[in-house]
C-alpha cells in the first residue's frame, strides 16, 4: 500500500476514531448492568412502605419500628417536649429547621405536634441514638456523642445534620403510613 503523507486527517483516520469511539461506548454500556446490579433490587423496593397503628403509644413514650431495614422512632411527645422544641432560636442551629417543618398534618388538617417520626440513624456514621438521653432529653448517640433535641435536631457533637424525617402520612387519627 502506498504511504499517504497528509497534514489533514484522512478519511481513514476518521474511520479509526469513529470505530474506536463506538467500541468504547459499547464497552461502557456493557459495564452498566454490572454496576447497577448492586443497587436495591425489586424485592427491596417492594417493601418500601408500612402501615402502623400508633394509638397505643402513651404520651412521653416512644417505640422503634423497622422500615426498609432501618429503625424508625415514633415518639408521642409531651407538651413540655413540644414547647422545648418550639422555643429554640433557629439561627443557633447547625442544620436550621423549625419544629413545624419536621411534622406533618393529620386528617383534621392540623399539624400533629405530639407525633414525632424520625429515622433512628445518627447522621454522623449510622449508629442508633438512645432516646430520652443527652442534654436536651431528646437523643444521644452512644458512638461519638452527637446530641439531638426533642425535635431530633442536631445540637452538639460531630453529626452534621438533623435526624432524617421519613416520608409518612396519617391515614386515620391513629394510623400512619411510612414510605
Amino acid at each position: 500500500m502506498a504511504e499517504i503523507h497528509a497534514d489533514e486527517p484522512t478519511r481513514r483516520d476518521f474511520l479509526y476514531v469513529a470505530t474506536g469511539a463506538f467500541a468504547a461506548v459499547g464497552a461502557a454500556t456493557a459495564v452498566w448492568p454490572l454496576i447497577d446490579q448492586m443497587n436495591p433490587d425489586a424485592s427491596v423496593l417492594a417493601l418500601a412502605s408500612i402501615e402502623l397503628d400508633i394509638g397505643a403509644i402513651p404520651v412521653g413514650q416512644e417505640i422503634t419500628v423497622k422500615w426498609r431495614g432501618k429503625p424508625v422512632f415514633v415518639r408521642h411527645r409531651s407538651d413540655a417536649e413540644i414547647q422545648a422544641a418550639e422555643a429554640v432560636d433557629i439561627s443557633t442551629l447547625r442544620d436550621p429547621q423549625t419544629d413545624d417543618a419536621r411534622l406533618v398534618k393529620g386528617p383534621s388538617g392540623q399539624l400533629e405536634k405530639q407525633w414525632l417520626i424520625l429515622i433512628g440513624i445518627c447522621t454522623h456514621l449510622g449508629c442508633i441514638p438512645l432516646a430520652y438521653k443527652g442534654e436536651f432529653n431528646g437523643y444521644l448517640c452512644p458512638c461519638h456523642g452527637s446530641v439531638y433535641d426533642t425535635s431530633g435536631r442536631i445540637r452538639q457533637g460531630p453529626a452534621p445534620l438533623n435526624l432524617e424525617v421519613p416520608p409518612y402520612k396519617f391515614v386515620s387519627d391513629t394510623k400512619i403510613q411510612i414510605g
Partner: protein, 423 residues
Amino acid sequence: MSGHSTYKPSNGFTKWIDSRLPIVRLVHDAGVSYPTPKNLNYWWTFGGILTLCLGIQIITGIVLAMHYIPQTDLAFASVEHIMRDVNYGWLLRYVHANGASMFFIAVYVHMFRGLYYGSYKAPREILWILGVLIYVLMMASAFFGYVLPWGQMSFWGATVITNLFSAIPVVGQSISTWLWGGYAIGDPTLNRFFSLHYLFPFLIVGVVVLHIWALHVTGQNNPTGVEPKGDKDTVPFTPYATAKDALGMSLFLILFAYFVFFNPLGLGDVANSEIANPLKTPPHIVPEWYLLPFYAILRAVPDKLGGVLLMFSAIAVLFVLPWLDTSKVRSARFRPIYKQFFWLHLIVCIGLGWCGAQTPDLVITHVGSAESGINFTVTHLARILSFYYFFHFIILFPLLGLIEKPKPLPESISASVLGTAKS
C-alpha cells in the same frame, strides 16, 4: 537480579522442557541463584513470612467457605456450626481469624523495616507503591471478612465504614445505598461482601507477583542501604536466604500458635460473640486492632467529611513517600536525626492505635486549676498525634534530607560486614 540466567538444564528431559516452557529456569533464577545482599538481618524475613500468611489465609478461607452461609438469618449460626460440629472447624476458624491479625503484625513490621532502611527510595519506588497497594487490599479483605460472622461488631463496624462514603457531597448517600444494595446493611450486603472477600485474596496474589517481580528487577535493599557492588557482596538465595526465612517463619509460627491455641479470642472483640442486632448499637464501636490508628485519625476531626478525608490521606500519603523524602542516604543507620524521628513516629502510630481503642471523651488528665482548667481527653491526644503523623511525612521527610548531615557510608557491603569501614 534480573538479566542473565545461570540455569543449565542437566539432561535431555529438562532441556526439552526448557526450550518449550522455561518454568524450571524461572524458579531457579528467582528462588535459587537470585543474589541477595549478604548482610540481610532478620527484619528481612518478613517478606517470606507474609507469603506464608497469605497462603494460610487462602487455604483456611477456602475450606471455611465450604461450611459458611452468607445469609443474615444463618450466617451467625453457620459460624457456630463450624466451631462446634465441623471436624477441626474450630482450628480452621481460629487459624483464619487470628491469621488476619498475624498477617497485619507481619505487614507492619515489613513496612516499618522499609521506612527505617529507606527501602522505598529510588530505584524501588514502584516496589514500594505495589506494597502499599497490597496493604490497602489487605485492609479491604479484612474488613469484608470481619462482617461475615454477623456479630454485633461485624454489623456496626460495617455500618460505620460504609457510612464513611456518605460524607462525600451530593452523591455520598447514593454510594452508600449502592454498596448496601438496600437502605441499610442486610442480606445483599452480606452476600456481596462474601463474594468480594473470596475475590480480594487473589487480587493480592496478583499484586504480590508484581511486587516480587519488581523486587527481582531492583534487587533487595539491605541494612547499609548501599547497593551490592558485585558477587563479593551477595550470596545465592538458596540456601542462605531460604534457610534464614525458614527460621524466621518458624519463630513467627510460635507466636501464631500461641494465639490460636492459648488465646484465640484475645485479639478480637467480645461484642462479636453476640448476633447482629440492627436495632441496637453497642455502646462502644471499635474496629480490629490493625485499623485503630486510622480510626483515631477519623475521630480526631470534628467534621464528618474532614475526618474521612484525613483518614484516607493517612494511607494515601504512603504512596508518595518516595518523592517526599529528599535524602539520598537510604538507611537510618547513617541518618542520625531521621533515626530518632523514626522511633518517635513508631511511638505516635502506636499511640494513635491506643486512642482509637478508647472512648473519645475519656479524660487522660486535667490541665490547669481544678475549677477553670480543661480536661485533656483522648480526642485531644489523638489530634496532637494525628498532627505529628502528617508532619512527619509532609514536613520532616523533605526537610531532613536538606538539613541532616549523614554519617559516612561504607564503601561496600563487604567493607561494612568486615568492619573495615571508617566511620
